[in-house]
C-alpha cells in the first residue's frame, strides 16, 4: 500500500528521524494558516501517489503566508500523471548543501530487506543503479538482529559520506531500518537525505510502501488507505475484499487463481480483445462472491462484455453458475457474458447456464474467442 510523503514522514519522525516541521493542507487557506504557524518560508509539495511531481510543477515555494496560499492554489487541483492533487504538504523550506540517498527495499533474491545507500541523492535511485552502480552500497539486513548501529555506520562510511555527518546519517539509517521492519514495509526511502547549509542532517523527502499482507497488524497505517484518483474502482474493490486490477480495455475478466486470470488476460489479448480488468475470486468462492464480482466488473463503464473462467477445485461449478445467473439480471441489457467452467461441478453448472440461456466456452481459448466475437457483434449492433 502506498502512503503519502507526509504520512511517511510521520512514521520517520516516530522513529526519531529529523524531518522539517509541516502539516498537510486541503485548501489554499489551510496552506496559508500552516505557513503562518510555521513562521518561515515554506515549500508546498503535492501529495500524490506518483513520482516526478517536481518536474510536473507539484513543488512550489512561498516566502510569506500569502505566497504559500498562492503556491497552494497553483498546486491543488493540478493533474500529475493522471492524478489530481487533492492535498499538499506545507513544510519549512530548507537550504540544502548536499543530498544523499538512504533506502531499504525488500529483495527477493537475498530474501531480506536490503539497505541501499548512496552519495548520489536527490535523483532517481534506479537511474543511479543503472548508470553508476558503483555509487550505491548495498547490504542485506540480518533479520535476527535488524540493522545494528555499527553496521549502519559501516555502510554510510563505505558509501563515502563525509566524516562529519557519519554519526547522524548512521543513526538515521538504523532508525529507518527499524521503521521498515516494524511497519511491515516493502520499501522505505529517504531521498534526499539533506545536509543543510546550517549543518543539519534531515529527511527532506520520505517514501514508504507498506506490505498489504502486514496491514492486519498495522492498524493505524491501514486507515491511511484512500482511493487513488485514477483508480477509484481499485480502491472500492479492496474495500469490498476483491482482488481487482483496472486495465484499459473493454473485456471484463473474472477467474479463480491469479495465474489463471493472468493467462486468461493473455488469451483474450491473443483473441484480439483488450482486457478491462483482472479479477481473481480466489479459491472456494460461493455464488454471492461470483455475483458481487460480476456486478462490480460491470460498473466499469468501459466494459462491454464479461468472460468468466473457472477451473473448479474447491470452487464448485454450480455456485459459479448461480452467481452468474443472479448477476445477469442486474447487468446492462444485452451485455454479453461467456462462462467457461471445468472441474468440480462443471456439468451441473453448465446445465444451469444452459437453462438461463447463457453462453459458455469449452475451454479458455474458446471462451476468449467467443467473448471477443460477442462484443464485436454488439458493437456493430448485431
Amino acid at each position: 500500500m502506498k502512503i503519502h510523503e507526509y504520512q511517511a514522514k510521520d512514521i520517520l519522525a516516530k522513529y526519531g528521524i529529523p524531518v522539517q516541521p509541516g502539516k498537510v493542507a486541503h485548501t489554499p487557506e489551510e496552506a496559508e494558516a500552516i505557513a503562518r504557524e510555521l513562521g518561515e518560508p515554506v515549500v508546498i509539495k503535492a501529495q500524490v501517489y506518483v513520482g516526478g511531481r517536481g518536474k510536473a510543477g507539484g513543488i512550489q515555494f512561498g516566502d510569506t503566508p500569502e505566497q504559500a496560499r498562492e503556491a497552494a492554489t497553483r498546486v491543488l487541483g493540478m493533474d500529475i500523471k493522471g492524478l489530481t492533487v487533492e492535498k499538499v504538504l506545507v513544510t519549512s523550506k530548507i537550504d540544502i548543501k548536499d543530498e544523499y540517498y538512504l533506502g531499504i527495499v525488500l529483495d527477493r533474491k537475498s530474501q531480506a530487506p536490503v539497505v541501499m545507500v548512496s552519495t548520489a541523492g536527490g535523483i532517481d535511485i534506479e537511474e543511479v543503479a543503472e548508470k553508476t552502480p558503483e555509487k550505491i552500497i548495498q547490504q542485506p539486513i540480518d533479520m535476527r538482529w535488524g540493522l545494528r548501529p555499527f553496521e549502519a555506520l559501516d555502510i554510510v562510511t563505505r558509501a563515502g559520506f563525509p566524516s562529519n555527518i557519519l554519526r547522524q546519517s548512521a543513526a538515521i539509517l538504523a532508525a529507518l531500518a527499524k521503521a521498515f521492519i516494524e511497519s511491515d514495509a516493502n520499501l522505505a526511502e529517504i531521498n534526499p537525505l539533506a545536509y543543510t547549509t546550517d549543518g543539519k542532517v534531515l529527511a527532506a523527502d520520505g517514501k514508504i510502501v507498506i506490505d498489504d499482507n502486514g496491514l492486519f497488524r498495522q492498524k493505524e497505517y491501514a486507515t491511511w488507505a484512500e482511493p487513488e484518483e485514477a483508480n477509484p474502482l481499485e480502491y472500492e474493490a479492496k474495500q469490498a475484499g476483491l482482488t481487482y486490477v483496472k486495465l484499459d480495455g473493454d473485456v471484463g475478466i473474472i477467474g479463480n487463481g491469479a495465474g489463471l486470470v493472468m493467462t486468461t488476460l493473455d488469451m483474450v489479448a491473443r483473441a484480439g480483445g483488450k482486457p478491462a480488468n483482472f479479477l481473481d475470486i480466489g479459491g472456494g468462492a460461493k455464488a454471492e462472491v461470483m455475483y458481487k464480482s460480476l456486478t462490480f466488473v460491470a460498473r466499469d463503464p468501459q466494459v462491454k462484455g464479461i468472460l468468466v473462467n473457472i477451473f473448479g477445485g474447491i470452487t464448485r461449478g454450480e455456485e459459479v453458475a448461480k452467481g452468474v445467473i443472479m448477476a445477469q439480471a442486474e447487468l446492462p441489457k444485452g451485455m454479453p457474458i461467456v462462462v467457461r467452467l471445468s472441474g468440480t461441478g462443471a456439468e451441473e453448472g453448465r446445465a444451469l447456464l444452459k437453462d438461463a440461456g447463457l453462453d459458455w466456452g469449452k475451454d479458455m481459448r474458446d471462451a476468449s474467442e467467443k467473448i471477443v466475437a460477442a462484443i464485436a457483434r454488439t458493437e456493430k449492433g448485431l
Binding site: 525488500l106 527477493r108 533474491k109 530474501q111 531480506a112 530487506p113 534506479e126 540480518d142 533479520m143 535476527r144 521492519i181 511491515d184 516493502n186 506490505d211 498489504d212 499482507n213 502486514g214 492486519f216 497488524r217 482482488t243 486490477v245 486495465l247 477467474g255 479463480n256 487463481g257 491469479a258 495465474g259 489463471l260 486470470v261 493472468m262 493467462t263 488476460l265 493473455d266 488469451m267 483474450v268 489479448a269 491473443r270 482486457p275 483482472f278 481473481d280 479459491g283 477451473f311 477445485g313 474447491i314 471445468s342 472441474g343 468440480t344 475451454d363 479458455m364 481459448r365
Partner: protein, 287 residues
C-alpha cells in the same frame, strides 16, 4: 521415482483442526498420502480424520516420526509455524497459507536455511506425486504417473495445464506449485536441480509469471541441465506496477516482465509455449 514425496514420506498437518486443515487432510488421505498426525496448540489429544492431534510439532514428530508437514495456519502465525516445523527437524515443509507478512518470511527463511529444510510455498497449492499422494490442496484426480516434472508459480493454472497434459496422454512424475509470494522457500532452479537428478523425470514443464527474476535464474540453471525443459510465462498483458493477484506478481520498472523471462528462457534453449494449449505438443517433441 519422483522428487520430495514418496513412500517414505510421513506427513503431519499444522492447523489440522481448522476448516481448511480438516478438509484437505481428508483429501490428502484419500489421495493415499501417509498423514500420520496433526498439530493445533491446545487441541492436543483430539483425533481428526482418524489421525492424532498434538499440541506442538515436536510432540507430533516424537510420536509419529513425521518428516513432512503441511501448514494451514492463518497468516499471523504461519511464519512461526514454519519456524516451528524446521526447528523440530521436519525436512519437507509445505505452506499453503496466503497473506503472510513478508517481514515474517524473511525471518522464517533464516531458520529454514539454517535447519536445511525444504520449504514449498507459502501461498501455494502444494505438491503431489501421482501414485504416492499429495501434500496440499492440488486436485489429485487430474494426475497420472508419467515422465513430466511440473513446476508452477500458480495454482489453478497448474490444474489447467496438468489437465491438458493428462488429456494428451502425458503423465507426471511430481508436480509442485512453488507459491505466488515474493519470498518463497524454493525457486524454479531448486526444483529443476531435483528433477535433473530424478530418474523418472524425462522433461520438466515450468509455468512462470511476471515479477522477480526466478525464471531468469532458472534459465541460467537450465543451461547446465541434460534434461529438456518446456516453459510458459503468464502475464504478457499485465501492466507495470500493479500487483496481479499474487503478492509476487508485479513488474517493477524493467524487472519482472513476461517478455524478459521469455527471452531469457529462449536464450537458454527452452521452447516457450505461446498459449497453454501448445504445451503438450512441445512436451511431446522433446520426450
Amino acid at each position: 521415482m519422483s522428487i520430495l514425496l514418496d513412500n517414505t514420506t510421513r506427513v503431519i498437518v499444522q492447523g489440522i483442526t481448522g476448516r481448511e486443515g480438516q478438509y484437505h487432510t481428508r483429501n490428502m488421505i484419500a489421495a493415499g498420502t501417509n498423514v500420520v498426525g496433526g498439530v493445533t496448540p491446545s487441541k492436543g489429544g483430539q483425533t481428526v480424520e482418524g489421525v492424532p492431534v498434538f499440541d506442538t510439532v515436536a510432540q507430533a514428530k516424537a510420536a509419529t516420526d513425521a518428516n513432512a508437514s503441511c501448514i494451514f495456519v492463518p497468516p499471523a502465525g504461519a511464519a512461526d509455524a514454519i519456524m516451528e516445523a524446521a526447528s523440530a527437524g521436519i525436512k519437507l515443509i509445505v505452506c499453503i497459507t496466503e497473506g503472510i507478512p513478508v517481514v515474517d518470511m524473511t525471518r522464517a527463511m533464516l531458520v529454514v536455511r539454517e535447519k536445511g529444510a525444504t520449504l514449498i510455498g507459502p501461498n501455494c497449492p502444494g505438491m503431489c506425486t501421482p501414485g504416492f499422494g499429495k501434500i496440499g490442496i492440488i486436485p489429485y484426480q487430474i494426475f497420472n504417473p508419467g515422465p513430466v516434472g511440473f513446476i508452477s508459480r500458480s495454482g489453478t493454472l497448474t490444474y489447467e495445464v496438468v489437465s491438458l497434459l493428462t488429456g494428451a496422454g502425458i503423465g507426471q512424475s511430481t508436480c509442485i506449485g512453488i507459491g505466488g509470494d515474493p519470498i518463497i522457500g524454493s525457486t524454479f532452479a531448486d526444483y529443476l536441480s531435483l528433477f535433473e537428478k530424478d530418474p523418472q523425470t524425462k522433461v520438466v514443464v515450468m509455468c512462470g509469471e511476471i515479477g522477480g527474476s526466478d525464471e531468469e535464474d532458472a534459465a541460467e540453471f537450465i543451461k547446465t541441465m541434460t534434461k529438456p525443459v518446456v516453459a510458459f510465462v503468464s502475464g504478457r498483458t499485465a501492466p507495470a506496477g500493479k500487483r496481479m493477484g499474487h503478492a509476487g506478481a508485479i513488474i517493477s520498472g524493467n524487472t519482472g516482465t513476461a517478455q524478459g523471462k521469455v527471452s531469457a528462457l529462449q536464450a537458454a534453449g527452452v521452447p516457450v509455449a505461446d498459449t497453454i494449449f501448445d504445451i503438450p505438443e512441445l512436451v511431446k517433441k522433446v520426450l
